[in-house]
């Protein structure tokens, strides 16, 4: 009776994959049901803050799951992306639709600047996680504006999320060529968060490759009126 049981050997990646699969289906049902509930509401209640909040949190859980799975895999196996060509403007519009109502209830205006014809190769789902992450960051610091920009520069696609807040502290201004340069710090005070979001974003940027070039993440204070700007460059 006193003998300790041998530890059970688990294939954690399989458990992770199967759990994430189930959770994503749950989120689908959760958000879908919420959609149906909203349909039954009178028009003036449809944009109620609490409903928008619930939707946003559902999407946030989804983004977090993607982040978790991606970082787990990045640490364990060789990760490959699903690169396809997407219309950048469409992609940003989708992000705008999902975010702008809730932001405007908080007095934050979300806008897009992007050439309508612009198309580029990227992993849509992962990059959506990245930009959502950056929007979540920005809304904590901005005064009242967040801008999503996309443009081509020197055969690279530059995505940037700008705000008109106080900008990054000097210590954080840098180009993160590889994700290893950002080590998530659980006690970080200067970022106000765990730094995990930035780490995730840099990881995803870095995974985007073309020929010999890798993507990167750069922080600057070239945002609106000297506010923060986080740029993702994808080759």
């Amino acid at each position: 009776m006193s003998n300790a049981e041998p530890p059970i050997k688990l294939d954690f990646s399989a458990i992770m994959a199967s759990s994430v699969h189930d959770m994503k289906n749950s989120i689908q049902l959760l958000l879908g049901t919420l959609d149906e509930v909203v349909d039954e509401l009178p028009a003036e209640a449809k944009s109620h803050a609490k409903i928008l909040r619930a939707e946003a949190e559902g999407r946030r859980i989804n983004d977090q799951l993607i982040q978790l799975l991606t970082l787990y895999k990045a640490g364990n196996t060789k990760q490959s992306l699903r690169l396809s060509e997407h219309s950048v403007n469409e992609f940003l519009e989708e992000l705008h639709i999902e975010n702008h109502e809730l932001l405007s209830l908080r007095g934050i205006e979300l806008s897009i600047t992007c050439d309508e014809e612009l198309a580029w190769f990227f992993d849509r789902e992962l990059l959506k996680g990245v930009i959502n992450n950056l929007i979540t960051n920005a809304q904590q610091y901005t005064k009242n504006k967040i801008e999503l920009n996309a443009s081509l520069c020197d055969k690279k696609l530059l995505f940037s999320v700008d705000d008109n807040g106080p900008g990054y502290p000097d210590a954080m201004l840098k180009c993160y060529g590889t994700p290893h340069e950002i080590i998530p710090d659980k006690n970080s005070t200067e970022t106000g968060g765990t730094g995990l979001g930035l780490f995730f974003s840099a990881t995803i940027a870095h995974l985007h490759r073309n020929r010999k070039e890798c993507g990167y993440l750069q922080t600057s204070n070239n945002g609106i009126d000297g506010g923060a700007r986080c740029t993702i460059s994808l080759p």
Binding site: K24, Q28, R59, S84
Partner: protein, 539 residues
Amino acid sequence: MPLWTLKNSKILVVDDYAEMRSMLRSMLIAYGAEDIKQSSNGEDAIEKIANNKFDIILCDYNLGEGKDGQQVLEEAKHREILPLATTFIMVTAENTSMMVMGAIDYQPDAYLAKPVTKVTLQTRLRKIIEKKEFTKKISIEIDKKEYGKASKLCDEAMSDHPALCLELQSLKYTLLTTIGDHDAAEVLCKEMLADRDIPWAQLGLASVYFSQQKYSETKELLEEIIAGNNDFIAAYDLLSRTQKKLGDSHAAEETLAKAIQKSPKSLVRQRELGELAVLNENHTVAERACRDAMLIGKHSVLRKANDYVNYSQALVKNNKGKEALKIADRIKGAFKGDQDARLQAEICKSTVHQALGDDTKAEASVDAALVLYEKYGPNFSSGAGIALAKSCLKYNKEEEADTIIKDVAKNNHEDKAVLEEINQTYEEAGFSGKADVAIAAAVGEIAEINNEGVRLINEGKIAESIELFKKAAKALPLNHTISLNAAQSYLLLMKKEGANKQYINETMLYLDTVKDVDSIKKKYNELMASCREIALQTD
């Protein structure tokens, strides 16, 4: 009510969760959809796709047991039941990079990541369908096999809609490989790859190299693709085939074993692994792969009686004769009404009985097979024919063996591998040299027919040449050269006397029998092109 509507769209929703299906359904209904069918698994989805012409298919990648979404897409395309004009959207729950990526002609129109909300539907689905509309008229022409028209439309669209360049290039690739214009496909792939490595376009180029029989280049490129995309299963499949062509069947087996580890549920992949393992005399692997091929194929139209035969033979090699016999006995019931399968079953049984040392039963099976052969003529696969001849030789039925071998040789007079196999069979049975005589006679007979036909054409006796080739093609329906010559005679006749519907149909039928033969693709395409040209003028 939104302006955009799915009112007239015929839609199929495939998901193993009933709740998920009904949720997607109600979202689609909100956008006006009225005709929505549902499937809970891949097999049912295939059946519905075969029996309906859908405008839009929303298919979950993960369908529980059985086929996954990519396999549904691949089987539907392979069986040509999924028109190019149908919008196929893969709905994915997990991070998409974990999924099996398809080759260039097995790509869905788009991936839609869960959660799919009404907002996503409104933005994404709409854009995907709008985009598809631009390429639809080209797809429709390709579906109708109007390749010339499709090609013209495609080129026009490329200059009108540069933003759709990649979709159009991909469509053009499908078009070019369908009509066998590999050189143009090569140029196209290189254009696509000018600025960036796109894995499916790289694989497209590799398949072009493969078709051009440039196997070393194919191998090099595939190894590069796999180094960058460890999970690109379609690249492993082609690499294995390339390695086999290069004569390295052990490397080919190893490559395919890796692919099976990543994606075991494919009938064709298991079948090929089984065949390679048989070739390499790797009996344990062979038994497992052949069994899996048979089991996976149970409900698939891609299954062949040969899967049962291979499994049975693998069991024999592993000294499991009784099990082998059971499998051989199942063939007749599993392939009712299929004469080739019945013949294969008898041949298979005869070899199993031989292995079990029961010569009486073995010979009885050979006799049963010979009756079938007599009755249904020489239109059997070369493998079955050679196996039967082998058994005949064993039981002193040399005359029967000679007849069968001659038929096989006549049907495959240009296929070196088949002729070599015949040689080997005779040598092993102690009749070296005898095969040469049979083969030479067969090849001579074919050459004579062809020469005579060409002479008739040169003398302007085209109607006579048609009669000659028609007769030859009836006797040797599997001989590609004769089928091509029959088609060509018809084309010459139409050029001389003018076209008519009946001649066009005859030509098309002959050409259709050789459409999948790589070695004569160029000739096939030339004839196909003139046939289409004539057909267009007559309408």
